[in-house]
């Protein structure tokens, strides 16, 4: 019934790892061809693969893991998806119902363990409920503010000899769950009035534009009004990265011009973003002169950390469509003269920093150069799946994302080990696309066993390991805040990555000179049917800049090791 329900839901791939509590389900998988199962090497990777599929397509990914350790290994992946509002259905095996609560072999209370990191979870108490619970799980995961849903199934609920009537429901209705379908027109009108009067506006958009499939509407709105656009880490690709009106990412490692524009703005239009601490810096100093319009599908995100002057609850796509209509119908025009002055100011900020970095003081390759090369070699059109750390910030700053759903990273939870399985999940579903995993020698080792899965399923992703021989982001903070006491941030016994990936049956490359980088990278991407792991030596002393000064305002930033605003 589980496999049949997944098939009827239209699921093509599921990612998982078998175990005692799931043997009935795995036997059913064996006897059909509609749902393909991908065997990972660790359950965390299964959840990341499902998660990345969802990030790239907007549809819920599915992971299947057994009870006990299988389920607990999946928790990090579930939390990763939860923090970034990613739709996912995770089916966990459970011990037989009569054993629940008796500390049986491989028993854990998965409902209890997962509760704080799921949108909802279900326990199956009667086999007849399986189709309707699975339907509800997908419905809840994909609608409203998306999120992961866990379905815990005791082994005796899937006994193949027990037969029950099966009917997969076409739709579901829950009296206690009614996701909102449109914004309040009066509020939208108020917002439009403010937008048309704004003299120093900024559009600040986040992951809600990506998952809400609203990037075309966002682009149309911004073009219509000539407003500058900044994206959060989760929102990159929501607005074309090479467009003049794009001022870069904002926040802790945001661009100088984006953070300056936010600080001096008189109107902030926040769309599908949640004013989190990595964006706002000190909340009490945040954007002192701005009025705030906040569009979000989740009312709890509005006025949580920063009070909104005009809250609009609704799906970003529908709200933006209505906004565009109202502006078209309005007799008023944006204040062109004020905007011209504003743009002059922004261009001045842009020319002051503009994402520069030092290359002269060292012969070592800079990590920024590697990302810029990736952007050049792939034409800004690859899926870039990142791990967590300095390389993630460099990728966010220097890869120019022109399309949504192409930048796949663990933004909210910051899960090291996310990158490789994420790249695999994308490649599995987009076999013809260029898929790059940008990682570091720290992160990659958190899920390096998945190179084996890549071999089994022929997943020729390109791994760019920015090897600085240390946990770079930790070391940067230690340099800046702990007088360079590098406590446990060194990796003193790194493997020979080239030999290691060769042992897994893939292609390894070592690059330590900038002069060799372009050739090597082009070669890597030309090997269409091989996984290529590029071990790229980069400057171990490099820091990510700009970096906001702790407890400061948006405009308080370090611009280099020696220069502060």
């Amino acid at each position: 019934m589980v496999v049949r329900a997944l098939r009827d839901e239209g699921v093509k791939h599921i990612y998982g790892y078998p175990g005692g509590a799931l043997l009935h389900v795995y036997d059913a998988l064996f006897q059909q061809d509609d749902v393909q199962h991908v065997l990972v090497r660790h359950e965390q990777a299964a959840t990341h693969m499902a998660d990345a599929y969802a990030r790239a397509t907007g549809k819920a990914g599915v992971a299947l893991v057994t009870s006990g350790p299988g389920a607990t290994n999946a928790v990090t992946g579930i939390a990763t998806a939860f923090t970034d509002s990613i739709p996912m259905v995770v089916i966990t095996g459970q011990v037989m119902s009569h054993l629940i609560g008796e500390d049986a072999f491989q028993e854990t209370d998965m409902l209890g363990i997962s509760r704080p990191v799921v949108k909802h979870n279900f326990s199956v108490r009667n086999p007849e409920e399986i189709p309707s619970i699975i339907k509800k799980a997908f419905y809840i995961a994909e609608t409203g503010r998306p999120g992961p849903v866990v379905v815990d199934i005791p082994k005796d609920m899937t006994t193949p000899t027990d037969r029950y009537p099966y009917e997969y429901p076409k739709s579901v209705k829950l009296r206690s769950y009614n996701p909102i379908s449109r914004g309040h027109s009066g509020q939208i009108r108020k917002a439009v009035d403010m937008m048309l009067q704004a003299r120093r506006p900024v559009i600040y958009s986040g992951g809600g534009v990506i998952m809400g499939d609203a990037s075309a509407e966002l682009t149309e709105l911004a073009k219509m009004l000539n407003f500058p656009v900044t994206n959060t880490l989760m929102g990159l690709g929501g607005y074309p990265g090479t467009d003049r009106q794009f001022v870069g990412m904002l926040g802790m490692h945001g661009s100088y011009e984006a953070n300056m524009a936010m600080h001096h703005a008189d109107l902030i239009l926040a769309i599908g973003a949640r004013f989190d601490d990595r964006v706002t810096n000190a909340v009490d100093k945040f954007c002192p002169t701005a009025r705030i319009v906040h569009i979000d599908i989740d009312p709890a995100s509005i006025s949580k950390t920063v009070r909104a002057d005009v809250p609009i609850v609704g799906p970003s796509k529908v709200v933006l469509e209505e906004m565009i209509e109202q502006i078209k119908d309005s007799k008023k025009q944006p204040d062109a003269a004020a905007l011209e002055t504003w743009w002059k100011q922004i261009e001045e900020w842009r020319s002051r920093h503009g994402g520069r970095y030092e290359t002269a003081d060292s012969e070592l390759m800079k990590p920024q150069q590697v990302i810029e090369m990736l952007s050049k070699v792939t034409g800004g059109d690859a899926f870039v799946c990142s791990d967590v750390g300095q390389h993630q910030m460099f990728a966010a700053q220097y890869y120019k994302f022109n399309k949504p759903n192409r930048w796949i990273n663990s933004g909210g939870l910051g899960t090291m080990g996310f990158g490789l399985p994420a790249a695999m999940g994308v490649k599995m579903n987009f076999p013809d696309a260029d898929v790059a995993c940008v990682t570091g020698e720290g992160s990659i080792q958190m899920n390096i066993q998945e190179l084996s899965t890549c071999k089994q399923y022929d997943l020729p992703v390109k791994v760019l390991c920015l090897n600085n021989q240390s946990l770079g982001m930790v070391r940067q903070w230690q340099d800046m805040n702990y007088e360079s006491r590098h406590s446990q941030s060194y990796m003193k016994s790194l493997p020979d990555f080239v030999k290691l990936v060769e042992a897994y049956g893939h292609v390894g490359m070592k690059v330590d000179k900038y002069a060799d980088l372009e050739g090597a990278m082009r070669e890597a991407f030309s090997l269409k049917d091989r996984l290529v792991f590029m071990d790229i030596a980069v400057d171990p002393f490099e820091h990510v800049y700009p970096m906001q000064v702790p407890r400061g305002a948006m405009r308080d930033m370090w611009l280099s090791k020696t220069e502060r605003t």
Partner: protein, 164 residues
């Protein structure tokens, strides 16, 4: 400020743990909590008293509303409402104190619901501060052996209702 939040909840296993978990997870405070099924056996009514500034209480109600098992939420303290709590209190009562305790009990419209030669068990219903006042009024007169309080239940005044 103290708030009384009333919640209509699916009467499902695990639903209560989601509510309680939300409070601890988000660092909200619970002063008292009561829960029981309503006349519709598929629904439970839950009342929680909490303290926090307006921003925190707004977040509490929003976050509660997000839980899939939660059908409706209302902050009763926003309008006219009635709150009641039940207390059973076991007191050491002997000698001439027995009469004195009985008198105090009558003043508070409490009932003595169990008697032994040395104890009284008093039942008292009212708003929480009335129960507090009763305990204070006993002063040194009687020594308290045990206190059981139900936690607050609340309902809006007038025609307003919290229902499906």
């Amino acid at each position: 400020m103290r708030h009384i939040i009333s919640v209509l909840l699916e009467n499902e296993p695990g639903a209560l743990s989601r509510v309680v978990g939300l409070f601890s997870q988000r660092n909200y405070n619970i002063e008292s909590l009561t829960v029981a099924p309503t006349e519709d056996s598929t629904l439970s009514r839950l009342t929680v008293t909490t303290t926090g500034d307006d921003r925190v209480v707004e977040q509490i109600t929003k976050q509660l509303n997000k839980l899939i098992d939660v059908v409706k939420v209302v902050d009763l303290s926003e309008g006219e409402h009635i709150e009641r709590e039940l207390m059973m209190i076991k007191l050491k009562a002997n000698g001439q104190m027995r009469a004195e305790i009985k008198r105090t009990c009558d003043i508070f419209r409490g009932q003595i619901i169990d008697v032994t030669p040395n104890t009284y068990t008093v039942q008292l219903v009212g708003a929480s501060d009335k129960l507090d006042a009763f305990i204070a009024s006993l002063g040194n007169m009687a020594s308290i052996m045990e206190v059981v309080r139900s936690g607050v239940s609340g309902i809006a005044r007038g025609e307003k209702v919290l229902s499906l």
